[in-house]
Symmetry: C3
Subunit: 211 residues, 3 copies
């Protein structure tokens, strides 16, 4: 096996996967899952969005083509086991990593959908699914209402970034520029929304349950 220098995107992908896996593992640990359960939740958080995207696009899920995601989740697992109690001090770092992952995953999902010949509105949805659906699976596994449905601008950052990506393509910018602009938009939207506590309004409908 030759060692191949990872590209810049691969490094970002690793960082994003690591941060997503850490978020799943930490929540699983708070629910007293065993090691296996925590690993599975971490892995599902990291690859869940991309897997749903690839099943909908009818291509082989990305994690089945490269064991990197399994290995990266294992690193995240050891990291939580070893440094569990100090992690709370690193919350800002993880928030940064998580936002980088969100931006990258969105751009990757958008680009992959376009490359497979889907229209832009599908690409925006697929970018958002890639970025945000892993967190929904995580929250279903730990039996909580998905966080992204109630709190913070999270998946909306993916949608906004996707719109910017699409606008750049519409204006016939180079696809690299569109990717970078889209990714930075996701990242900044997420960071600024948390910093200035910008949230979407809660829907005030009627509280009556119906089928």
């Amino acid at each position: 096996m030759d060692f191949v220098m990872p590209s810049f995107v691969q490094i970002l992908d690793f960082i994003g996967t690591f941060a997503f896996a850490i978020s799943g593992i930490r929540l699983a640990s708070a629910k007293r899952f065993d090691w296996f359960g925590a690993y599975v939740v971490g892995f599902a958080t990291a690859i869940g969005g991309g897997t749903i995207r690839d099943v909908l696009l009818d291509v082989t899920p990305a994690w089945m083509l490269d064991p990197m995601y399994l290995i990266c989740t294992a690193f995240a697992m050891f990291f939580v086991i070893l440094f569990g109690k100090y992690l709370i001090k690193l919350n800002n770092t993880f928030f940064l990593f998580d936002s980088i992952g969100l931006a990258l995953f969105t751009v990757v999902g958008f680009g992959k959908s376009l490359a497979l010949g889907y229209p832009c509105w599908i690409a925006i949805i697929m970018g958002s699914i890639t970025g945000a659906a892993g967190g929904v699976i995580r929250d279903v596994f730990i039996n909580e209402i998905p966080l992204i449905f109630r709190k913070e601008i999270y998946a909306m950052a993916c949608v906004v970034g996707g719109l910017v990506y699409w606008l750049c393509l519409k204006m016939e910018f180079d696809s690299y520029i569109a990717q970078i602009a889209g990714g930075i938009t996701v990242f900044l939207t997420r960071i600024l929304a948390v910093k200035y506590q910008i949230t979407l309004p809660v829907l005030k409908g009627d509280p009556a349950n119906e089928n």
Copy 2:
């Protein structure tokens, strides 16, 4: 873009999608989801069943071929935002719309499976998944036990309608007649079950939990 008169089936499809989306959005609102979360739950309720069907049948999910479902969910969203407090007075109307949607989705799912060459017993299951699985996804998202597993004749109406559809085909009726008979059966089974409070018996097994 030319404006094309929608067909009768497209109008029914729009009504069904609208009713299913409303049901998701209202339940999300009762759980204090934000606008984004409510939209996603409404959309998943409307397209979830058809998406699972299309993934199992290995074809592109219907909502990825036509932005109508996204737009229709947006209409449902505005409707709940604007008329939220009056909705409870419209419960009977929504119940009617929901039953129309259930009937139509079942027939569409059944017909699509047959057209793809699957046998009738698969078509009955796919029709029921198309009609009822969106509500299961909705209830998983809002962290409740799926309603259709505990209350009312809902998915059973799809199964009964599918059986009638299949019987009509067996008796070599025209496929339009089979569709209409199947759809009306779903609709009437649902309406009559609710009107006369017909329910399936609760399963009395042993209460011991085991793995």
Copy 3:
């Protein structure tokens, strides 16, 4: 229709499906699901793992090619309805059946992935998904935290069995021997872990929730 003698593997498959369906139906009954709900949960427990595997491998789910799984779940349903109160005395028998099912499903999932040309590390994951994911779906449907993430060696037995299967292939044993060795490993790991109450350690991370 000619009656064809079922093979030994088909009999094991029937036993495994029956045991998995019983486990779903009993838990649904403990939550007071109606007959339809209990049947669906039983069926999803039995075929859920194989369905996720087949969707990821992009082949038609096994239960869509053979009505045996539907029929077997119906038998399990009648069994619980008729003998519900005596089932608790049969817990040891069901535990045995469930472990047979787990072993068989793991081996089937592993072999199918290899036959489709996937590498061994994918086969190990697919074997584990086949064996254990049905129980996760069951627990999501009944709105509980998935049991396999918190208690007992269950999915880990699949992983260990998959590793043994893979080792046997590496050592160029006949594929039948690899299958039997893998299956027996799953079965024994599961039985011994329960008998000697061997569990994986709980992950002690920090309890702080983060996104």
